[in-house]
Subunit: 236 residues, 2 copies
DNA sequence: TTATACAACTTGTATAGACAACAAAAAACT
DNA sequence: AGTTTTTTGTTGTCTATACAAGTTGTATAA
C-alpha cells in the first residue's frame, strides 16, 4: 500500500461528495470526526481537506466547518472538476452527446505535441463529445486517454455518463490536477455548426492535460467553447 | 493585527523572489535552513512554501528542493507562455504602457457587477494599461482599485512599474488569489487598434477579481488578450 | 573506466499535542 | 421576552519529533 493516507482520505471524501452522500451546501464531518473515522491525526485530515479546497470541492470556514461547494453562476471549468459534476452542481440541465467513440485511435493531432512528453505511437482511447447546457451546445471536446490497463473501457458505457467518475470507481484513477493553454480563435465550419454559431465566431479553445493519481497516466482534451451565454470561470 | 507566522514567511520569500534576491530557476534555502532563519518548525515553513506553490512562485521536487519558477506574471495562476516554443516570460522582454491614469473614477462599467458584492458609489483608482511582449501588444487592461488607505498612490509612480509590487512594498497589501471569468469575444475597434489586430478578431476577455491580504480589499481588472502569438496557460 | 554501494543531503508523510480564534448554541441575567 | 454571558464545538496556527523516500555526490570495488 503505497498510496499516502491523506490521498486515500481525499479520494474517499471526493467519492462521497460526487456520489451525493455528502449533499451540496451541507457540512462535512468535523476534522476530529474524520480523524477517528480514518484513524489519522488532524494534520493528515487537514491535508486531505486542503487538497479538496484547492480542487474546488469544498470551502471551509473558521469555527464552523467544511461546506460542500454550492452551485455557481458560470461554469467553473478552469478548475479541474469534470463536466458532469460542474453542471450538475450548478443546477443547470446538462447533457452530453457522444458524437464519436469510444474507439482506439492514434493521436495524430499535432496541437497536443507541446503537452506530451513521450513521442509514442501507442493507441489512445478517443472520444468526440458535444456538451449542452439547457439544450444549448456550449462545448465541443476531443479526448484522448492512454489505453493502459483499462480493461473493457470501450465496451462498457460510462458510469452515470461521467468519464472522471468512471475512472475513479472502476479503475481507481483519481484525476487530481491539470494544466492548460487558453486561446480565443475563430470557429471553423465543423465547430461552428456543432455549437450553432456562425463560422468564424470567437470561441474559446482549451488545450488540457490532466494529471492523475497514477504515475505517468495523463488525459488530454481539446475543447472548443461557446461563451456567448455561459462564461468559463476559475477559482484559485 | 496578528499576522500568522507562515504568512510572514510567505510574504518575505515572495518579496525576495520578486525583487530578484532569489533568482529565477535557482534553489531556495532548504526547509531546515528556513526553519532556523525564521525560528519556526518545518510544518510552518512548509505551509508557507505550499502557499507559494499554489500562487505559482515556486515548484518543489522531492529530494531536491524548491525552485523559483521561471514565469510568475499575473500571480502565476495564469502566466504568459509562448506558443512558438520560445517562452518570453521574463520582464526584460515585457513592457507596460500606461495609457490612462492613475486617476480617480467611479466604476460605472456594468461588466464588473457580477463580481462585486457591495454596490458602492465610491471612487476607484483607475488604470488603462497596454502590455507588450517582445514589442508585440498582447494585453489591454483596465484596472480598478478601491481608494481606501492608499495615500499618495496617484501622485507617486509605481515601483518598478509593477502594481502588485507597489501594493506589497508601500502598503503591505499582498495579492494572494483571484477569481475570474473567461470569454472569447470579437475585438471592438479600440481594442483591436491597440492590440494591432483586425476589428472583430477573436480575443480573450478576462474579468478578474483579486483577493488580498487585507480583509475586504479587492482589485478588479478587465483584460483583453491577443492570443495569436501567445497563449494563456494555467496550472492547478 | 565503469559500476556499485554508501552517505549526506533534500522533501514527503505522519503522529501527538497545545493553544488561539471564531461561530453557534445554551445558560444566565435582566 | 429580550439581552448578555458562558459554554461547547469547530477550524486556524504552531511546536517537536520521527521515519520514509527521492536526489546527488563520493568513496569503493570490479
Amino acid at each position: 500500500m503505497k498510496i499516502p493516507l491523506y490521498r486515500q482520505i481525499q479520494a474517499s471524501l471526493k467519492e462521497k461528495i460526487t456520489s451525493g452522500i455528502y449533499e451540496e451546501g451541507g457540512l462535512l464531518p468535523s476534522e476530529n470526526d474524520l480523524c477517528t473515522e480514518f484513524n489519522a491525526t488532524r494534520m493528515t485530515v487537514r491535508q486531505a481537506l486542503n487538497e479538496l479546497v484547492r480542487e474546488g470541492y469544498i470551502t471551509r470556514q473558521h469555527g464552523k466547518g467544511s461546506t460542500v461547494s454550492a452551485s455557481r453562476k458560470s461554469l467553473g471549468l478552469l478548475s479541474l472538476k469534470g463536466w458532469t459534476e460542474v453542471v450538475v452542481a450548478s443546477d443547470r440541465h446538462g447533457k452530453t452527446l457522444v458524437l464519436e467513440g469510444p474507439m482506439l485511435k492514434k493521436m495524430q493531432n499535432p496541437i497536443f505535441r507541446p503537452l506530451i512528453d513521450t513521442e509514442s505511437d501507442e493507441d489512445f482511447i478517443f472520444f468526440k463529445r458535444l456538451r449542452l447546457v439547457e439544450d444549448l451546445p456550449v462545448m465541443y471536446e476531443h479526448t484522448y486517454i492512454p489505453n493502459d490497463n483499462l480493461p473493457n473501457f470501450i465496451e462498457e458505457p460510462l458510469l452515470e455518463g461521467s468519464l472522471f467518475r468512471t475512472l475513479l470507481i472502476r479503475y481507481q484513477i483519481d484525476v487530481q490536477s491539470m494544466t492548460q493553454e487558453v486561446r480565443a480563435i475563430a470557429a471553423d465550419k465543423e465547430t461552428a455548426n456543432l455549437l450553432k454559431i456562425k463560422t468564424k465566431s470567437p470561441v474559446l479553445h482549451l488545450l488540457r492535460k490532466y494529471k492523475t493519481s497514477v504515475e505517468g497516466f495523463f488525459l488530454y482534451s481539446s475543447i472548443y467553447c461557446n461563451t456567448e451565454k455561459f462564461a468559463i470561470s476559475s477559482f484559485n
